[in-house]
Symmetry: C2
Subunit: 447 residues, 2 copies
């Protein structure tokens, strides 16, 4: 399914660094070589920092050699979505308005990665202000297709094997959908779990997350971010336990069809049904709205989630969208102008009601999740990445975790039209750890 040469997890690479049979510098050179051969076609990167990355990789090589790594991800080559600030590279935000703009600081997440010894390779392309207007990034599995958005460059870079991992952000479907399309693991943490400082992200349920070649790398990196950057101010950071990631088989899993199900492709639905069959064969009981009235009631509440999510996001986009139009309306996409028009039609009372509806959905989900003790399972997208790069695909399977503020993972375990498709697990608030251990079980099952 994937042509990534990086499917060896970092935990395994680290054994080789220790033994001296591989080095962070060699790993970086393999990444740079793939970037050289593929990025002219894929346009995953907005900017590269090759010389500084080599220096950082050499320093990491020395630390592993002398037995003093800074963290479990020391030497990991990382890409940074280009709405997240870096002191040594411009932050372009996918708009001409920010061409060459220097913030003079590292985002909290980037600062944590550097402190952990990670090697910042470059900035990965984003849609305009991480919204719906696309960038020119192409899908590594079929360059005539979209990589998804808004974390397009991060997904494409990882899917093409240019990088083992990259930072992304999500407020609607900007991590899970491109992860599904590009055949990589996507992780959106519990709201507030990773410090958003220095990301273009001043929205109430947005978050910083990860796109990675392996679940293990995503887990290791998320743990480092939580430990070294902390959570958002006033919030608790993610809690991911020490030690290795162990698969845990759940006794039951709840299948949520969500409002995406009727618009998913035939093949995507069949793939999910087959996957549920394999879970049953492995001894997991699958519960759905068919036989569980509580689930059916929650599914009907979810009907409203797409509109509530996109209206909240539109309203909270007013500040930066107005700024963009005031600075230079010629550079603003019609898509963003439409989002602002939608926002300007909402009143403060409308917004207050939207927040109340979100809270009601959160309360209902938390009650349901507390009665389950295992994540919920659904598709990550309606099917394979659509053809063309002018539209980044339908986020209908992604809005729920965003709106609810709960953790979700997309695992590249299915396919549609011979292209990747993700299985999505949605976890309980603040229980990202169970989400990961369940995901590890699903990944083993599939392997």
């Amino acid at each position: 399914m994937t042509n990534s040469p990086l499917l060896v997890s970092y935990s395994e690479l680290v054994q080789r660094f220790r033994q001296g049979t591989d080095t962070p510098r060699d790993l970086l050179e393999r990444c740079l070589s793939t970037i050289e051969s593929r990025d002219d076609e894929l346009h995953a990167f907005a900017c590269l920092a090759v010389a500084r990355a080599r220096l950082a990789a050499d320093a990491s090589t020395q630390r592993w050699r002398s037995g003093n790594p800074r963290s479990e991800i020391d030497g990991m080559p990382v890409g940074i979505k280009d709405i997240i600030e870096t002191h040594d590279m411009p932050t372009g935000m996918g708009t001409p308005l920010y061409d060459g703009w220097m913030s003079r600081r590292d985002a909290a997440s980037v600062q944590a990665l550097r402190a952990a010894g990670a090697v910042i390779v470059g900035k990965t392309k984003t849609t305009e202000f991480a919204g719906s207007h696309p960038c020119d990034t192409r899908n590594p599995h079929a360059p005539g297709h979209t990589a998804g958005g808004s974390s397009a460059g991060s997904a494409a870079a990882v899917g093409a094997g240019m990088l083992p991992i990259a930072l992304g952000t999500q407020v609607v479907g900007s991590i899970l959908r491109p992860a599904s399309f590009c055949g990589v693991v996507g992780y959106k943490p519990t709201e507030g779990g990773i410090h958003r400082g220095g990301s273009h992200d001043f929205q109430s349920h947005s978050c910083i997350g990860l796109l990675g070649a392996t679940l293990d790398d995503v887990w290791l990196t998320a743990r480092v971010l939580a430990r070294m950057a902390g959570g958002d101010p006033g919030k608790h950071p993610l809690h991911l336990p020490d030690g290795t990631l162990n698969p845990v088989r759940p006794s039951t899993l709840t299948w949520l069809r969500t409002p995406g199900w009727p618009v998913a492709s035939e093949e995507a639905r069949q793939q999910l049904m087959n996957f549920l069959g394999r879970l049953r064969s492995a001894g997991v009981r699958i519960i759905s709205a068919h036989e569980d009235a509580q689930v059916a009631a929650f599914e009907s509440l979810l009907e409203a989630s797409f509109d509530v999510c996109t209206d909240i996001v539109a309203y909270e986009s007013r500040w930066f969208a107005r700024n963009a139009l005031e600075r230079d309306a010629q550079t603003v996409s019609p898509t963003l102008a439409q989002v602002l028009a939608r926002a300007e039609a909402l009143t403060a009372d409308d917004y207050a009601q939207l927040l109340e509806r979100r809270q009601a959905l959160r309360n209902a989900y938390d009650t349901l999740a507390a009665s389950r003790r295992a994540p919920f399972l659904t598709l990550s997208a309606t099917g394979a990445a659509p053809q063309g790069i002018l539209h980044s695909g339908n986020p209908i399977f992604n809005v729920h975790a965003s709106l609810l503020g709960v953790p979700a993972l997309s695992l590249p375990l299915l396919s549609d039209q011979s292209m990747p498709l993700g299985v999505q697990l949605i976890g309980a608030r603040h229980d990202d750890a169970t989400l990961f251990s369940t995901a590890a079980f699903l990944s083993c099952l599939s392997a």
Copy 2:
């Protein structure tokens, strides 16, 4: 007490604009003339935008003439604290690290002011990253004394009559203390009530507020900010009712001594006692810890508030303080380096406990406030602005409203050593309206 030529409230000026006996352009010229005569000594401004301000004032003059003002503060000359972003002026943050830095956007608050027709006159000086290390701003009532901090330039500009109003921010005591020292009205709203986007303000209980020559101007401007910028994402904006600000006499007021009382100057304490006497004479019953066990119990809880507040702020300063040290340690003040050292000694568990202690104090305050229906009264500072400009004064009277996330006003009604001293009113969460109407009563009483 004050030498401000701007003590005419904007509501009155607007009558003259309508009658054609004054114009926003003339008002601006009076401000510019005071800036010219006083700012060489006081250093209130980091940057001025004279030509653009004149254009904006002329446009406002036309709007009033044609009866189409954009808002009740159309034409109001405003200063912007230099940690709040403006697309057309650098945002220097009181540190050489940000000399000449352009953010390419207006903060949400600045965007709202422009949309309301306000005239942005310049950026006002701030201490380093709005922390404790001072800038060179001097007190307009005694230039050998500090103007306070961190909103030093905003307080000095308003206190000297250079501007009727300016934006400030507070996370410890950065609005209320300089307001007290410079003899102006200071307002710190309920947490989340004014959108902080584009302010160097990524801390959990920080806020954007105002320093103004008159209570009425502060109230008008706060209402415009809430209406046009909204609150923080996910929060409700301030609610201040339409119409004019009417004084309301409370039947009782609760006097909180707070941990500041024992270190306040003799004269400051005597002034407050005299003021309480005038309130009693006006028919207001004064309650204190002496005769009210609930108040006494809350006062003892407040003993911890200074340390809890400053530890939370230190911990949440890690991101930007680390950035500053990583970029150029030579430019970082020993004060900020100490804050970071204090922060680095705190663990994530320590921080979680601090947040719990803050929440417990908030719950106790909300319970007490709900039983009172009127604001609490105390001093705004331990006394007059101290001599010298190397220390911005003691925030011990200001931490409570910050930590509790509740609204507070400092009113320039007292004096110490023939310099200004503020009376502080602290209100109930989300009831900024009652805070203002009570403050209006206190101001009438004093006049």
